[in-house]
Symmetry: C4
């Protein structure tokens, strides 16, 4: 079927319902789809809990088939009502839709699949359905663009952090050694990341005095990266709130405002300013 032509008739109506949210049908579709996505996620999550699966496993399996059928219908409908189906199928959301359908069909088409791929992987593929919700929250687009705009700053920051944790992690690997849990440089780097990000699992901890000293330095660096700028910024804020430079002094000659508390002459006309009476500046 050729789809390159502009959308008409039932295809146009289908497109309006599925891809746009201006009409009542469009909004109803969006709402229904969101609920189906959330429900299918709940089913996958419940299915992973052994005790729950033991009781209602069959029902969950049946629901999973229902959801798969619904998503299949939705996927085919999307492909039918866009001008270039292949472009949609290869877009991010198109691939997510496909991944969401794969597990159940694969399990049918490839009988011995459970022996090849861990059923947990299939659950992971189903969980990706949650990403379909991204299309429905406008702010995610803004968030994505903001991140893209700052990507240089983020990359520089990340590379700096990676350099620090690599050197510090290796240092701890040298100082503590395998007998204290630091069996290789990657393990040291893993520990350094848990420490610098202040997560601090505690599965690996320094035991030697020198190690604990290095750890203390790292902790102060990681926490200080947050605390120092925050403190500086709020100090600036407090300082700005109590203006020390400009005041409400008015020049009697040219009536300009905002002269320094210690200025004697008007900066706009050169006339002498009346003496400054300090007024109480609200603190806080």
């Amino acid at each position: 079927m050729r789809f390159g032509r502009p959308l008409q008739g039932w295809r146009l109506r289908l497109h309006t319902i599925i891809f746009e949210a201006d009409t009542r049908a469009g909004r109803a579709f969006d709402l229904a789809l969101i609920w189906v996505i959330l429900a299918s996620i709940v089913v996958v999550v419940l299915d992973s809990i052994v005790s729950v699966r033991a009781v209602i496993g069959d029902w969950l399996g049946a629901l999973e088939w229902v959801f798969t059928l619904l998503f299949t219908v939705e996927y085919i409908a999307r492909l039918l009502c866009v001008r270039h189906p292949l472009r949609y199928a290869l877009s991010v959301y198109g691939l997510i839709d496909l991944i969401a359908l794969l597990p159940t069909y694969l399990a049918v088409l490839v009988p011995g699949l459970h022996a090849l791929i861990d059923v947990r992987v299939l659950r992971l593929l189903r969980i990706f359905r949650i990403l379909k919700l991204g299309a429905y929250v406008a702010e995610f687009g803004a968030l994505g663009r903001a991140l893209a705009a700052s990507r240089r700053k983020i990359l520089v920051f990340l590379s700096f952090v990676m350099m620090v944790v690599l050197v510090m992690g290796t240092l701890m690997y040298v100082v503590e050694g395998a007998e204290h849990g630091f069996t290789s440089i990657p393990v040291g780097v893993y520990w350094a990341i848990t420490t610098m990000t202040t997560v601090g699992f505690g599965d690996i901890t320094p035991k030697t005095d020198l190690g604990r000293l290095i750890a203390s330095v790292m902790m102060l660096m990681g926490w200080g990266t947050l605390a120092v700028p925050t403190g500086i910024v709020s100090a600036e804020f407090t300082a700005q709130k109590a203006p020390r430079e400009t005041t409400t002094r008015v020049c009697h000659e040219c009536l300009s405002e905002g002269h320094s508390a210690d200025a004697r002459f008007c900066r706009d006309c050169g006339a002498e300013l009346p003496p400054y009476q300090s007024d109480p500046i609200g603190g806080g």
Copy 2:
């Protein structure tokens, strides 16, 4: 009794004392109530410590009865002096007052209650009294309104975080598996939340190399969500601080420095300043 009519006489006076803090009696009531609330909380807390209860358990029980009586009198007084008692009884604070009274009365009215409801639940209901204090701190109202105003932003942020921890948690569940503690997707999500919020209990930790790699990515994401904006904001602040107002302009007459970029006359001697040539300000 009909209470719909405007408050008069003793009811009006009671209302002024209880609900308003303009008069001396009103403020005295508020202060006394705050102390009683705090004291009753202390009693509930002490009662939960087994070693303390063994020594002074009877005294705590007696004090609990005193507090319950005081709160009952207060509750009835409030109902008596408002225009629409039912509206108050169903308001947030009215329900909190009722919940605060329930445990002791239930224990009396339903003899076998301790067999039905864990005594710990009764302690929890008594602890809710602390919420009565909310009415006495003006800023809590402002805080509530600020949260309500930002609720869209908060919801978007939360849903983004939930999507990330769901996908990452399931990923760890797949990679690590039940033998390392990740027994189901909810457990993986719980771990992902402890990691992304940098809490890092350590009750569940990744043991495989791939798991630790994914964990490192999550830790950097969670910590970076705080560190990157903080760094960007304070970098902007430092750049702004490079003052745009005062410059290195020097007055040729009196040689004083630091005049505004737009000043035409010296503020110290009144002489005319040479025109301002903008010089490149070194960036931060």
Copy 3:
């Protein structure tokens, strides 16, 4: 001795050396005192390490006597050269000075002291000497004043946090119970604080599903208290950086600047503005 009279002669010179830092002798005194304080702290710290004390314990004891003598001389000198010795002795720094001297003298005057007070308490009293350094860092005064100015905000914030951890801690005490470590309400509150502040020791952790769910909510609250405002603030910053309202447009009549990009008339004189040519706004 009467000291109320104005300082003269040797007392004035002593006062200048000890309490002021304008003269060379004054600065030398300050520097020497700072080093002595730091050295005495190091001695106390080393003395607490069992392995170190076993080797050089006698030397540390001798050094401790030297420091005590130096601090005694300094204390007496301070009392001698102020106008009101009693006022100094009762001031914060006067009391710190006295506390710093007590341990060694008490141990001499009260032979059986080690049986009454743990030697660790004596170490703690000596450690308080570090607070004497507070007088030498000007910013500490500014920090103290800033904290005092914000104390209302801090108290409101703290009381809100205390209310949350009390209710949540009791909730976990009810849900998890003593068999999972939550033996009383104070223990639940302690756990709630470790979770909300994202410290996450891991000595007590929720084991039940409901407990882990409540824990997840608390972790998101605690971390979100930092993440949400930070995100909002940096979003505002990014928005402000790309100014949408004011531009560098100049009115040809009155030469005022800063009119909106979409304004057609000058807001200061009413004349018609030339059309706006968009200039490239540097991106973030």
Copy 4:
């Protein structure tokens, strides 16, 4: 060889390639060097993993020799094409280059080196190569300058934190004692740092009620140092956002809204605006 003279001929060309990035050869060199540095780091990291070394240890050793030769050639080239080789050799990057070469050559020149220095130390010296990357990221220079500019503030902040953790750490050492893990003051300080920076390893935790109370205070202090300024700053932001520039002023002629508080003429039609009456802006 005398190198003090200005660079000419092949030395100038070499300098352009190595130290500058304007030419194609210069950029190609930079890119190649960055990849070689990263590859050598990967080799060192892999070499530290016992299981990996067992399989490809010989290959890693050979690759290490290749990298050492490449870095030697680069080092000599750098020395050859600068005007003052000694100055470069003693600069930060010169020393890093030398340290990066040492391990392999030392292992050759000093046969029994592995008995004297732990092979892990040699790995650490090789890991320092990552610091060579610092020269290629322009922002690192800016970051360094920003840190240098704020160093007074950072030092004051750090000394304040050190004072707090010293006193609090010693307090916990006194309260908990060696039987609960707090064996000396340094251990107490290490614990205090893990708590105040909210890392919370959990290798040492308070067991007594008083200890847990002190721990709670410390956790609130550490977390509050981040939370309180963040909250204050975002509260200010929200207040500022209630725009002070545009108001609800309405032009009587054309009924357009949103004119500046200080505007005298309507920016859309040029008519004179009625004087501005300040209305109370609801606080946040």
